[in-house]
Symmetry: C2
Subunit: 534 residues, 2 copies
Amino acid sequence: MTENLHGKNFIAGELKAGGAQSARAVNPATGQQLEPEFIHATEAEVRQAAERAEQAQEKLLRLGSAPRARLLRRMAEEIIALGDPLIDRCHLETALPKGRLVSERARTVNQLLMFADLLQEGSWVDARIDTAIPDRTPSPRPDLRRMLIPIGPVAVFCASNFPLAFSVAGGDTACAVAAGCPVIVKAHGSHPGTAELVATALKRAVAAEKMPPGMFSLIHGPGKTVGVQLVTHPLIKAVGFTGSLRAGRALFDAAASRPEPIPVYAEMGSINPVFLLPQALRDRSKEIARGLGASATLGVGQFCTNPGLVIGLESEELDAFIREAGLLFKEATVETMLNKRIHQAYQEGSSRLRAVEGVELRAEAIGAPDVGRTQGRPALYSSDDRTFLDNPLLREEVFGPSSLIIRARSREELLRIAATLKGHLTASIHGSEQELLDYSDLAAVLQRNVGRLIFNGFPTGVEVCAAMNHGGPYPASSDSHFTSVGTAAIYRFVRPICFQGFPDPSLAPELQDENPLGILRQVDGLYTRDPIPR
Amino acid sequence: MTENLHGKNFIAGELKAGGAQSARAVNPATGQQLEPEFIHATEAEVRQAAERAEQAQEKLLRLGSAPRARLLRRMAEEIIALGDPLIDRCHLETALPKGRLVSERARTVNQLLMFADLLQEGSWVDARIDTAIPDRTPSPRPDLRRMLIPIGPVAVFCASNFPLAFSVAGGDTACAVAAGCPVIVKAHGSHPGTAELVATALKRAVAAEKMPPGMFSLIHGPGKTVGVQLVTHPLIKAVGFTGSLRAGRALFDAAASRPEPIPVYAEMGSINPVFLLPQALRDRSKEIARGLGASATLGVGQFCTNPGLVIGLESEELDAFIREAGLLFKEATVETMLNKRIHQAYQEGSSRLRAVEGVELRAEAIGAPDVGRTQGRPALYSSDDRTFLDNPLLREEVFGPSSLIIRARSREELLRIAATLKGHLTASIHGSEQELLDYSDLAAVLQRNVGRLIFNGFPTGVEVCAAMNHGGPYPASSDSHFTSVGTAAIYRFVRPICFQGFPDPSLAPELQDENPLGILRQVDGLYTRDPIPR
């Protein structure tokens, strides 16, 4: 199948390659370019994708949610039907182990099915009904019925580090489609072949379910040109992005300066601080060290939830912990990173870290990295509170398999460090249950600055469920109101509308008196699945 | 009481007047300046307000929601206790009739109480719990619990046209306080004395309920300087605004270009198109004309939901409707507008409208306006589809008591007009129930572009309730996800946080196993008020 890749853009079900620019993917494990050339979308093709998405949007609004649930399930089936060639091509383009990619495919499929289930249950539309009170004085109350509707065509950017679960048919696409929005995906230059294969599956699903073809497009090209053209097209109404702060902010700025500004939901990663309280180190030092080693080096540290910073109180126990964790970093394998740019950024970030006076390299993986194979070397550093507080550089994310452990000389210094950590996806606290109560001030400070607060666990392994929050204050994400993982992610791509005085036959089923879908609604202030009495 | 106004800023419970700039309010009905001078806040005072708000935020997070509900109720009591002097001063500053101000005070108080009730019920925090599955393969599921928490200190801008209900203790303040956010209000230059009186009430309420004084501040000064200083202060995390597109966009741009961008919820008004379908004109022409006349001239047309545009099919019935409506505009009274700037903008907007070839003045209020008394003259215009489609100027809001009726030569032209109307708070359709079904394409087009769609009613009179949506696509509001009226407005000022693996005693009551508050939660995918079995 991979041999048959065509390298073209998918514009509303048709293949287009009118552009003169192109690029090939690179196998990071060999440095060799992969066939074929992927043709960058022209501005006319971007425009056409947006216009077809707008046409699809109008049709979608009349269809109701059942066809969208079927489409999501069909997308899942078609992705599975791609079989091994998808995993093979993805492995070639990203060097991620096949086992990991098989898991990531399962997660991708499960996300699609989860949103199909959410649509089938139906209550997510947050239906609110205040019935008329004709005889109220001084003025009657009209009948008011509110629900959520799609915001309009959505631009989704593939993420370098999740070629399946946060790319063409990833979380953003799944919830935009669930919300009822057509999607235009911009492929990532690191894995355009993977994107093409998944796009083939989505195109088949759209056709099989007889959905409007403008529902889905895939375009290739650089973010700075093709990506910005997409985000600034007037018919695009929201953007989903996972990646670096620099790229995410550039898209945010482009969207905010449009004549009609639109929201950009950019998840931009973070340093994910881990706090080690004294009792935890006394009770479970080795276990926590093992957890840290595994979490920090998982997938060559290429997760936005990678724990890049650890803070503990200066003590013999902390020293022992650092030694123990060091052993695990030494034993970690040296593996190929996703692409040259990420590898280079890791090298540069590591060099900057090492150059800081007061930062000590405590352990490095034993295997020598092969630069020709884009390999990143796991490393553990340590430093002290003063150095940390004096060097804002140490609060910056180094994307890759390294962690920095800070020795705080007192509880006050530990809290001071916590107070400087603004805008992270997660923070973790290891301690006894009593310690967590004793350190409630630490938990309170962290709560202000993170999207997810973890007790006796590590941040990697983001559960996909209703209660997940994957986001957080800037710069973890560009809009802390929303998660990009879990069912609540759908709320990024909808907005409320209120119908006043509408007769039943002109209302969507979600708002009709009979409540034919049996969803949970707020009716005159009460939560109920009951119909409204006539 | 009014004689005792001091003109100072309220910074966390203290009166401050360190600035050299000041301004007085003007009585629009006489053109005379009112005592006293209101001292503009200095940059240091703005900074101090933000810092005290941040300190208050930390305390607030630990208090839970019950004290906030008590605070909201106390605020309502203290506002009522201000008595007639509040109405008197407000009338002097705005020329709004005292009857209207008494109603607006009732609405303001009811908004505060509505949010207190919302807190007491408690389910608004959208608690979601996915319990641990320790034996899941390949990896266990951790316990995850998510709820909404305050976003941080909020800046609120008083609205010129709602000196009570969208000003110091208005909707934005009520829901920010309900959300658990400290509030810094910037007074409007048109009614600073009203602001001071209400601030006195809020200060008393904060003290009486022993809440942290940084919970509330009030500052005076121009939006361009003091307002922008407030919005760009790093400790401010969100902004509520109601006013003009120009001022709203300026705040939006200032907030979006911060190192840490923050959301601006700006409700910027709209033209609120009204569509008249043929059967409605045959059946109820006079009744609809009366409704239009009343809605368009209510409060000298100074509502963001004022119906500025009416579209019907060219017909004898439409001509008769225009004549009928014209009579009502002729009979309308000439009244004082809110301030010179608004009056001047209305004059200029009216002149621009009259200058368009093809636009005809059909009726004007008989009474001659007294410019010294800042009076605006109700006026009704008509034109045809071609003129409308050729002149984008006719799609712009003229804030004041005028409406433009468009004769569309065909159903297609009527739909074409509808398709050009982007981003309105409301649209209204008058017709029979069967016509609404026959014109489902019209309803579909309007649904894409408005926040509230009204059948056989008029847009003024915004109900304050759960189902209300007061917002809409840009430029009606800067963020179509959120309403600024009704209980859902609280969601502007909160964000989710997820607690992973947290023991019960360290969780907020909303997330504890026992569900001590008895709120509705999503537990393992089901909506329930039940406790979680151990």
